[in-house]
Symmetry: C2
Subunit: 453 residues, 2 copies
């Protein structure tokens, strides 16, 4: 994402078929057209009439079966033989979930090979991002590398430069860790007074998966790294852009991983198959995909993507370089922009929180634009540098409301408001926006993105 | 799985293209034929010659680049524009991973609609099973239910019977939990002196995912459950078999969940979309898929699948009914049956451990058929009623070896040997085999399934 794509007033176009109704994932699925969707929504509004005014103690006021066609009519799946297991197969989502997709933001970059496809956070649960929905951000497109031909070279300030095959690497002691990866440009468009319509586009350059691989520290040790002179590691990608990033030695020796596994299976091609670096807590660009080389050096490399991109333009006109840690951040995903509450009553409000510095300690939620705050429930497991899922009860009285979440991490750092963040950083940054996100709920239930001091 | 399918001596056929070489997932992928595979394997053996005799301290003796064609030749992915992000897309695995699939065991059941497709544990990492590889076991095939038409009824000993739509349910306070689901018949064929060739078929009716849904206790409370008279809950599935299972009230009120989310997205159709029960720690059949009804009763229901199936035929001829907790168990997945060690030297030996009674406390591994045991490293997170990944270093000297893993859970229960288990249970059971698994490594590196006292 470059600054030319962030002209003030330029909205990222909402997807043509984004979900218009909260918790009505059923409604938007299957490629239904608008007529069908409106018809179904009216049906739901009718059906839900009986359950208006839900309260937590008696949360669901579901009607008894009388008159409900779905109960009275035998459905085909109840009266026929189902589908057999496939002799050899790899499962796919239900046809009714056809609209839960990664989506490119048209016009964000000049070519689709250097673009972004965002994770649909508004439709996700828990902390694991399905591999098929992990966000994509490439600099010269994704490649499907033959693992037989892939090599990892380690050179520079090491006693013995080496070249590893995939077989060499997969024989080594491996670890598995759940971590988030967030692009440094995530939420970048919000620096200006621009409100992107949905959470997929405001925060969807965030994913969280279980990664398996070998600690980078072990590989450096195997090559006899010179820790006296060697202070940085250059990571280089194997695709056409030859993406290069400088990794401080403290990260390299701490918890950085050279991984091949993601969510139990091999990495997906868009996420670096067969080998990528994962630098937990650091902006995603440093988790170099299709990793082919690691070079140990004595100073930062100032490569193209470090000198021109992923830098912060401060109010005084200076560029801040090598900011890398993704600070504590959170966002409510249900409800979120572009969705619509169907009626008054009880809702489970849900979201994600994460910190590049460790564990999430607490998430507070406000329903009145920041005047009052209540602590949300945090789901376990709460893991370091991983997404934490939070949930909180809300009984909507039908009046306009502004929903916000504010995360605190184990260092005590509190996620800032956009106003406070702008006081320090100005409005000309692209990267590293971890401000509190505000969603406005109108009286008709429509949820939209607003910027609230 | 019925007893007629377990005739002594009947082997489950190995998949035609199972992985012949450990850690050479690359070799078997892409539908390569035998010539190609043999050629590549010889190449690998040559390339790996330089790395024979690896030891942990200097684990990988990878050769410098000279003469390695993969280093010297420019590859197409380095010199061309890659693939663009899709405007709308859902990712799939690399073409080189085409052999990592769920597989049916031909002949296991009379029809494929009542069959099993096993999870390829030999190719998985960490604890999360990708949704596309979650094992399948159906009684009348899988169905793709329209969530708009799906309802959940709760009736029986409740003050107010109710019918919930998916919208009703998804508005309720939800939780997310990582749990394993294991079919009660997993490892069932091993009760006899039958050694199934691969871990996919010995243990592949096991998967572990993050589930999101509403606690069953909340729904029962919402309906005003009569806890004085109500001691059991009958769960009924919405597909043609109308699978019914009795859930003890203590499980229902403890940690049972009515879930719609799996690994961050909606359940897959083969796993119960749009709604299933998850009863953590209990055999998989109780986690009723396509859940449509819950009835509170005062005694067990003795439904067909409780009276005829999922019972244990004891040595004295009696049937043991309503055994349900999946006891502590573990298995080494790398290396495992059907794989082949390429040469002597260092290996990371990896596997999975789990217990239906809580957390895994410890896993010991033996390389000499149970004479000596060493503690494996347990990967975090270690969660209750979830799979725990373990890893241990092994320097193979080239001599025949027998690999075993033995898990201990937080209750102190120790996974038994097959000999000890048979002393109590005999050999005529189908279900609930949690014995220690033995893999024999021959001098040529071939790994096979053996039964060791």
């Amino acid at each position: 994402m470059t600054s030319r794509n962030r002209q003030p007033g330029q909205l990222v176009r909402a997807p043509e078929n984004y979900v218009p109704a909260m918790l009505a994932r059923e409604i938007d699925a299957g490629g239904m057209n608008d007529e069908r969707r409106t018809f179904l929504r009216k049906s739901f509004l009718g059906a839900l009439g009986a359950s208006a005014g839900l309260a937590l103690a008696q949360a669901a006021r579901a009607a008894p079966p009388s008159g409900d066609p779905a109960i009275l009519e035998k459905q085909p799946w109840q009266t026929s033989l189902g589908h057999p297991v496939a002799a050899i197969g790899y499962g796919v989502p239900s046809k009714y979930e056809a609209n839960l997709q990664r989506r490119e933001s048209p016009g964000l970059t000049r070519v689709s090979a250097a673009s972004v496809a965002f994770t649909p956070l508004q439709g996700l649960f828990g902390i694991i991002t399905p591999s098929g929905l992990h966000f994509e951000r490439h600099h010269q497109g994704w490649v499907d590398i033959d693992p037989n031909k892939h090599r990892l070279m380690i050179n520079g300030l090491v006693a013995q430069p080496r070249v590893y095959t995939m077989n060499d690497l997969m024989r080594l002691p491996s670890v598995s860790r759940i971590h988030f990866i967030e692009c440094g440009a995530n939420t970048g468009i919000e620096w200006g007074n621009v409100a992107v319509p949905t959470v997929q586009y405001t925060h969807g350059m965030l994913s969280c998966c279980e990664f398996t691989g070998v600690p980078l520290a072990l590989l450096l040790d195997d090559c006899g790294v010179d820790l006296k002179a060697g202070k940085y590691v250059l990571a280089e990608g194997g695709e056409g852009s030859g993406m290069t990033r400088t990794i401080p030695m403290e990260n390299a020796l701490d918890d950085a991983l050279v991984v091949w596994g993601m969510n139990g299976e091999m990495l997906r091609p868009e996420n670096g198959y067969p080998l990528r670096l994962v630098v937990p807590g650091v902006q995603g660009v440093s988790s170099v995909k299709w990793l082919r080389r690691l070079e140990v050096g004595d100073e930062p490399y100032a490569s193209k993507d470090e000198a021109v991109h992923y830098i912060d333009l401060m109010p005084d006109g200076q560029h801040r370089q090598y900011t890398s840690i993704q600070e504590c951040k959170s966002v409510i995903t249900t409800p979120s922009g572009g969705q619509q509450l169907l009626d008054k009553g009880f809702y489970n409000v849900s979201g994600m929180a994460w910190s590049g510095r460790g564990k999430v300690a607490r998430v507070d939620v406000s329903f009145d634009g920041g005047k009052r705050w209540r602590a949300a429930r945090l789901e376990s497991p709460i893991l370091s540098k991983a997404v934490t899922r939070f949930n909180i009860d809300w009984d909507w009285d039908g009046a306009p409301a502004i929903l916000q979440s504010r995360a605190v991490d184990e260092t005590g750092y509190v996620q800032p408001s956009i106003r406070v963040l702008r006081e320090v950083r100005g409005t000309r940054s692209i990267y590293h926006n971890n401000a509190i996100q505000s969603w406005k709920v109108d009286a008709n239930g429509e949820v939209s993105n607003v910027q609230v001091g």
